[in-house]
């Protein structure tokens, strides 16, 4: 088992009332799964993804990731954990505007103490795999949305994570670009065994996954 959420609660206090963002979430994810999280706006999809990605905390419950109990870990260990095993893909790509494609890909490696030659090799390999060698010296602003997201996925994959978390990865893309990115996810999942959890609004995209989780007002339905 890759990860397990047990009775996760998350809330904020507003005007003396407790508003639940996540309510009693139980979830088990096996390695190699491709899960789609669906639900209307404000149902807690992104919050759930952030909790799984350890970017956000929760108020109650247990979270085990690869036999480590995340809820007892300190911030430092937590960040080491997600740094090593999790890659993120965002709706608005979040590439750094000041860095070229190549440099954007290299950045996660910089924080993981790879040697210069190793980094180069890994970046070159990734450029090759995604067919963007010709674009390596361009800046994000010079790429189309689909290409930017391609770089975003490549960046998430470069450190060989076990889990990819994608928050509406095709939300800013047109249908053809969406199709391409979803095909890419499917291929990664099938051929390389990467576990993927994606948040999406679209039934069509959700269908690429092996399992669908529906959320409403912070609850699993």
């Amino acid at each position: 088992m890759l990860l397990q959420l047990k009775n996760i609660f998350k809330w904020v206090n507003s005007g003396g009332q407790r508003i639940f963002l996540l309510k009693d979430i139980n979830l088990e994810v096996e390695e190699g799964e491709f899960i789609s999280v669906m639900g209307p706006s404000g149902s807690g999809k992104s919050t759930l993804l952030n909790v799984i990605g350890m970017l956000d905390t929760f108020d109650e419950g247990e979270y085990n990731f690869l036999d480590e109990s995340v809820h007892t870990l300190k911030e430092k260990h937590r960040s080491n954990l997600y740094k090593e095993y999790i890659g993120f893909v965002f709706q608005s790509y979040h590439l750094l505007d000041d860095l070229t494609v190549q440099e954007n890909l290299e950045m996660p490696l910089l924080y993981k103490k790879f040697k210069g030659s190793e980094r180069k090799a890994m970046v070159a390999d990734m450029l090759d795999r995604f067919n963007i060698v010709g674009k390596k010296d361009l800046f994000p602003a010079q790429l189309s949305g689909g290409q930017q997201q391609l770089v975003g996925v490549a960046r998430a994959l470069i450190a060989n994570p076990k889990l990819i978390l994608a928050d509406e990865p095709t939300g800013n893309l047109n249908s053809q670009q969406s199709e391409e990115i979803m095909q890419l996810f499917k291929k990664l999942n099938k051929e390389e065994g990467v576990t993927i959890i994606q948040v999406t609004h679209s039934e069509k995209n959700a269908a690429y996954g092996s399992r669908i989780i529906n959320l409403l007002d912070g609850r699993k339905v």
Partner: protein
């Protein structure tokens, strides 16, 4: 990793060219100005610090109780030094020092040189480096002199002149001397500089005053033995004082003076050599104040502070643009320390670049700075290891704190929060506001200082001093001829000229002439059981009409024949307290008494920081005149000046003519006030400019951040004026707040400063009002352009950008 940081730092700086430029320009200016000012400050503080024995050397001064409180002074009588050394234990070495200007003659060459009449030990106590004749006899014989290299060049045109003979004019006679040693060019940071040093025993007063204890005209320095402290020594001098000043103490008791806290009427005190440059005896005790160098360094610090505030504020305000990057980097595994070093590194780049350019800027402006502020500070001060290590530490500290603070704030932000691009505004603006209040407070402080300083200087320039300073010129009688004969020749020479109204002479100048020398002479005598002290001026009978002084009572001298009589001023008359003052006569000369011929109205013969003191005019052929005064008609003043110059050159072809009008002389007396005013004014100007740069940048950022709000308000129906007001009000509030804080501080400092002047302007509220209005107006103009522009923009456009 480092390469990556450098790369992204560089690109970030490059992308925000305007911010980078503003920061670099501001910091460069601040560093440059701070370096210049610090040089001047360090130079001031370095006075007399090149003497190796400086810790053991003291100046000897006297504190005397009189009926008007205590008086202090450094003048001593001729036998004092030797008696002190033999009678009081603890002195290793001692020297007398009379600083004077003497006419030195080498064949055809005649030069007025700054002369130090000193004892033999002068050169072993003080570390004035000698170049030639080092092993020879330095002032061993009464006929030896020490010349500086520069003086030797002026006199001989070369410096290998050991053993050469020169003549010195002493009491009107040329006396031969031999050059025994050549001194290297003297350090500028000393108050004991000279061009020629001669034995004290040869000075013009020596023979007449050898055994006299009541004529005090020179200073005395002592070097204490290793195991003796100044306090111990002072204690030991009490019996010495009681022995040698019995009469003085007796007189003080009789005239109603009260003893000091230790029950004494007269005391010998020691002033450490390092304090000499910073000491004033005006208040009746040795007041040591290093406020001038500290003020200079304070201004340097304030300017640096303002530039740093700009940097912190802009970095924090700009951080919202980098939130996405921060969040992304955190998601990708960056730790806090990674981000801290990244942002700090960017600051470091900017600071180092600015510091280096600041150094270059200061080198570039050094000469202009020296002239403008009349400081002797040299570039050498910049190269001392102490200065370098200190400035390096300061730059590093500034970089650490100023660059580190925004870096710390940015690296602490939460991941999700920064990814969403939203900053919580929890007190961060409070820091910004505080910094801006301090910044504008400093600017307002300096503006007020500028206004008051300039006001006082204008007041002193325009004040009626009681004599005609516009139409009278004075010059030193610096030739070989006997002064009275020379003055008569001058009168004959100028008689035919209708523009020359009066010619006269005296033994002192008014204000500070081109020769730069100033002196005062005070006598005291016993009159009807009371000690009377008065300033003493030897004059020519035409002195009163030449200067346009007014008579209050009696008459002026009636020509040369009146030489027994004297004139006194109103203050003196008041001190004498005689009912019929014109029938009184005073024992000025020990042989006979001098009748008072008339009373002149009080006039300011000294600077305006002093109250008018008693003065007595005296005519005597025995005491030489040293300055000539010429009154000219108000037309053709330039021609008249030239006529006087030509006449003097004809009579004394070898001497320099150093004439100037008295109003120029008076202006010269507030040289220090003027350079202080210049310092504060430039400081204020730079402070204002830097603060405005910061304010301008902040207004740009605030307008950008509130674009959406502005758009919505406009759509709802707000007017341009309304929106401008909303955007401007926050900043103006800060400036007003700064005004409220800075004004009392400025008031306190300026009140203290003005108390130095006996004649001063009122510290009126108008000064503060003007500086406050000025600050608000400048601030409004700075932010107004931006805010009005934003308020007038089409709301559809601003809403679309969101």
């Amino acid at each position: 990793m480092l390469k990556n940081y450098l790369k992204i730092a560089w690109r970030n700086l490059w992308k925000d060219k305007s911010f980078t430029t503003i920061n670099v320009v501001g910091l460069t200016t601040a560093f440059g100005v701070a370096i210049l000012l610090a040089t001047a400050g360090f130079y001031e503080l370095s006075y007399e610090n090149f003497h190796e024995n400086r810790e053991k050397i003291y100046g000897v001064y006297i504190v005397q109780q009189t009926e008007d409180g205590s008086e202090a002074g450094i003048s001593q009588p001729t036998p004092f030094a030797e008696a002190l050394k033999t009678e009081v234990p603890g002195i290793a070495k001692t020297t007398r020092l009379l600083e004077d200007v003497s006419l030195i003659i080498n064949g055809e060459k005649e030069l007025m040189l700054n002369a130090n009449w000193v004892d033999k030990d002068f050169f072993t106590m003080f570390s004035f480096p000698l170049e030639k004749g080092v092993n020879g006899n330095i002032l061993e014989n009464l006929g030896d002199v020490v010349l500086t290299k520069e003086a030797a060049n002026k006199l001989f045109g070369r410096t290998d002149v050991i053993g050469q003979n020169i003549n010195v004019l002493i009491n009107g006679k040329q006396e031969p001397f031999t050059v025994g040693a050549i001194a290297k060019d003297l350090p500028k940071n000393t108050n004991m500089g000279f061009e020629i040093a001669l034995r004290f025993e040869r000075n013009p007063e020596y023979l007449d005053t050898k055994e006299t204890w009541n004529e005090q005209y020179h200073s005395v320095y002592v070097e204490l033995e290793d195991n003796v402290t100044a306090a111990q020594f002072e204690e030991n001098t009490n019996s010495f004082v009681n022995l040698h000043y019995k009469d003085v103490i007796e007189n003080a008791k009789n005239s109603g003076a009260s003893p000091n806290e230790e029950g004494l009427y007269r005391q010998i005190k020691l002033l450490p050599l390092r304090d000499k440059h910073f000491t004033s005896f005006r208040k009746g005790y040795a007041e040591v104040s290093r406020s001038v160098p500290y003020l200079i360094m304070g201004v340097a610090f304030l300017i640096l502070f303002i530039a740093c505030v700009n940097y912190v504020n802009m970095s924090l305000a700009k951080s919202s643009q980098r939130l996405k990057e921060i969040g992304m980097r955190k998601t990708l595994g960056a730790k806090r320390k990674h981000l801290f070093f990244q942002f700090w590194g960017e600051s470091f780049l900017i600071f180092m670049a600015s510091a280096i350019m600041g150094v270059l800027l200061s080198l570039l402006l050094f000469d202009d700075f020296k002239t403008a502020f009349s400081t002797q500070a040299s570039i050498d001060t910049l190269t001392t290891p102490l200065f370098w290590s200190l400035s390096f530490t300061i730059v590093l500290l500034v970089t650490l704190s100023v660059g580190g603070y925004p870096a710390l704030v940015l690296s602490k932000l939460g991941t999700i929060q920064s990814l969403k691009g939203k900053l919580e505004s929890n007190g961060k603006n409070r820091l910004r506001d505080l910094l801006m209040v301090v910044q504008f407070g400093i600017a307002i402080l300096l503006i007020t200082g500028t206004l008051v300083l300039r006001g006082q200087i204008e007041y002193m320039r325009n004040k009626d001093l009681g004599y005609d300073k516009a139409h009278v010129l004075s010059f030193p009688l610096n030739g070989k001829k006997e002064s009275y004969a020379l003055l008569n020749l001058l009168k004959d020479e100028l008689r035919g000229n209708p523009d020359i109204l009066e010619v006269s002479g005296a033994d002192n100048n008014l204000g500070r002439g081109k020769d730069g020398s100033r002196s005062s002479s005070v006598i005291g005598f016993d009159y009807k059981g009371k000690i009377i002290r008065t300033n003493f001026l030897v004059v020519d009978p035409d002195y009163v009409p030449t200067l346009g002084l007014e008579m209050a009572l009696g008459r002026n001298f009636n020509g040369i024949g009146d030489s027994i009589g004297i004139l006194i001023n109103e203050k003196m008359a008041e001190q004498l307290g005689e009912e019929n003052i014109l029938s009184a006569s005073l024992p000025i000369d020990s042989d006979e008494t001098s009748p008072i011929l008339g009373v002149i109205k009080d006039y300011h013969f000294e600077d305006l920081d002093k109250a008018i003191e008693p003065i007595t005019f005296y005519m005597s052929k025995d005491l030489p005149l040293t300055y000539a005064y010429v009154k000219v008609a108000s037309s053709n003043m330039a021609n008249s000046f030239e006529a006087v110059e030509n006449a003097y050159k004809k009579l004394e072809p070898n001497a320099d003519f150093l004439g100037s009008f008295l109003d120029e002389n008076v202006d010269r007396t507030f040289r220090s006030e003027k350079s202080m005013a210049l310092l504060i004014t430039s400081g204020a100007l730079i402070a204002i400019i830097l603060s405005c740069i910061g304010l301008f940048a902040m207004s740009i950022l605030v307008v950008t951040q509130r674009t959406k709000e502005i758009g919505i308000r406009k759509v709802i129906g707000a007017s341009v004026a309304n929106i401008t007001f909303i955007l401007t009000k926050d900043f103006l509030k800060l400036v007003l707040f700064a005004f409220l804080i800075a004004s009392p501080i400025a008031w306190w400092f300026l009140k203290k400063w003005l108390e130095n002047y006996e004649y001063r302007i009122d510290l009126s509220w108008a000064f503060f009002a003007v500086s406050g209005i000025l600050a608000v107006a400048i601030a409004f103009l700075t932010i107004g352009t931006r805010t009005i522009g934003a308020a007038m923009a089409n709301p559809v456009k601003s809403l679309r950008t969101e």
